[in-house]
């Protein structure tokens, strides 16, 4: 006992030495920028007179002024509501498809599994901006082959870049790009279910559908929770798709999503102070929502485990 203890004294500094690079990187590239953003969010620029000449612009303490401005700005709230509407389409559709695809790939009699898996996953490898550009092209009636076909068939041609359909158009890009990734996560955990579980189920006379519903889905529940968690965060941070579609249509404003408003305030208006406050609020809301969900999911799991 004593000798073991003495040995551990000798390497006491080692864990810290191993930790050091991570701590330094964390401090430099994570804690410091966040601290700077917080500092910025509590300041503002005060201009006097015409704003010309030296000393006409001063950085002054703003207190929580930027925060109250952001919270009372209806555009930020409207953006949040738009994103909620968008997420209400994206998350269920994307995860539902991912689950169905994963279950189908995992079924017993499936051919071409590797090819299909790759084909569904591939859109995830396309950068979001490129995907949005591609889809934007397909949404514009004058250049889209779909509209050409619809026109030739004499069918109605919906305006996908306006009103309600705009949400579908944006969601479609996210679903197209994200389903493959989530499918792989779910599929991987399906593959790790031990074979004897299935054998037991088959011996009990369970049909493939029953196996899917009663065994596979409950057993991959942790992966579903994880993918849901990632999807919520990605939804709240939606930026590149609406930003890329924006120049193509009159329907997407420069402040369509909360993150677009942050970008617009910081780089359109040059007001990095308000932008920092808005970014902080978005980060807090994201944290509360995503960890709130995780906690709720975990406590449910515990309850079920206790039963």
């Amino acid at each position: 006992m004593t000798s073991a203890r003495r040995r551990s004294y000798g390497v006491k500094g080692a864990p810290y030495a191993f930790l050091l690079p991570a701590v330094i990187l964390f401090a430099l590239f994570f804690a410091l920028p966040i601290g700077y953003a917080l500092w910025l969010s509590l300041h503002k620029v005060k201009v006097s007179g015409l704003g010309l000449g030296a000393g006409a612009r001063k950085e002054v303490w703003a207190g929580i002024g930027n925060y109250t401005d952001a919270l009372t700005d209806s555009e930020l709230l409207d953006g949040a509501l738009r994103v909620v509407g968008y997420g209400a389409i994206v998350v269920p559709v994307m995860l539902g498809l991912a689950l169905v695809f994963a279950l189908m790939l995992d079924a017993d009699k499936v051919r071409l599994t590797p090819f299909t898996r790759l084909a569904i996953f591939l859109p995830y490898a396309i950068p979001g901006v490129v995907a949005a550009l591609l889809w934007g092209f397909l949404y514009l009636p004058d250049v889209s082959p779909f509209y050409f076909v619809l026109d030739k068939l004499g069918m109605p041609q919906p305006d996908l870049l306006d009103g309600g359909p705009l949400y579908l158009a944006l969601s479609n890009i996210a679903v197209w790009g994200g389903t493959g990734f989530n499918m792989i996560v779910i599929y991987t955990s399906l593959r790790s279910i031990p074979a004897e579980v299935y054998e037991a189920a088959k011996l009990d006379g369970a049909t493939p559908l029953q196996i899917a519903l009663r065994i596979k889905i409950p057993m991959v529940a942790p992966s579903l929770v994880l993918t849901f968690f990632f999807s919520i965060i990605a939804t709240l941070q939606v930026f590149s798709e609406p930003t890329t579609l924006k120049p193509l249509t009159n329907s997407v404003s420069t402040t369509w999503s909360p993150l677009m408003k942050v970008y617009q305030d910081a780089f359109g208006k040059g007001d990095i102070y308000s932008a920092a406050a808005e970014a902080t609020i978005i980060a807090i809301v994201t944290l509360v929502l995503s960890f709130g969900f995780l906690r709720a999911a975990n406590s449910r799991n515990k309850q079920e485990a206790a039963r």
Binding site: V47, L50, G51, P247, L248, N250, K269
Partner: protein, 287 residues
Amino acid sequence: MMFYYREDLFKQYGLKVPTTWEEFAQTARDLKKKAPDKDLTTFSANDSGLFAGLAQQAGAKWWTTSGEKWKVGIDDAATQKVATFWGDLVKEDAIDNQPMYTPAWNKALNTGKQIAWVSAVWAPGTLTTAAPDTKGKWAMAPLPQWSASENVTGSWGGSSTAVTTDSGHKSAAAKFAAWLNTDGDALAALAKEGGIYPAASGAQLSGAFLKSPDFFSNQADFYTKAAEIAKTTAPSAWGPNVNVAYTSFKDAFAAAAKNKSDFGAALKTMQDDTVADLKKQGFGVAE
């Protein structure tokens, strides 16, 4: 700024090049009658500079100073006139309401679905990439006027050289700026390497501007005409938060163009946003 149009299609549809905005509106309506699926042009809300130039032509001065205060005149009578003019054309479907610089816009120009474009001296470059199939079919004319007796144009874009107050070599920098914008060699290099159309009238017909742009090889006097138009440029007045006004324009006018609603109200939004931002930053603002 000037008026670019498809010479061949104007002839085909029996249209006359408009010299006033009233004629411009009539030309748009005439084209709609003759070819309902075509548009003279579009009102695009995604480039505020075009609207700013049109407002300058009408005599608008968006930012002026009085003493230590800024005065914002975005919502002035001249700009209201311009906004209402374009808003009415959009409302009666005489022109399109979709933004520029989209794949759809490129196609519309390339296939002759849109047959004119109010633009600036740099338009040949944009048209070369947007509508490559229409090379040699376009012509350029002066911008339509608000009254037949006038001869004014605005500026869409432009750049200037400035010396900042914290420069360590102010007089040397000022000397260099003057050389850069007046010396023949410097201007030739700016035109050749930077694709810049010079403000110095002496350079407007030399070097890179002796021959018409390739895309306008059918119009031999392109740069002579451009130089004449450049002489009629209205003065412009810029302020400290052009970026805010421009962003507000994009959102307010995009919504108005989409809904075919009141452009005057959109202009009011632009004015209010701009004034509110100046006040928020602490600038002196004259009401």
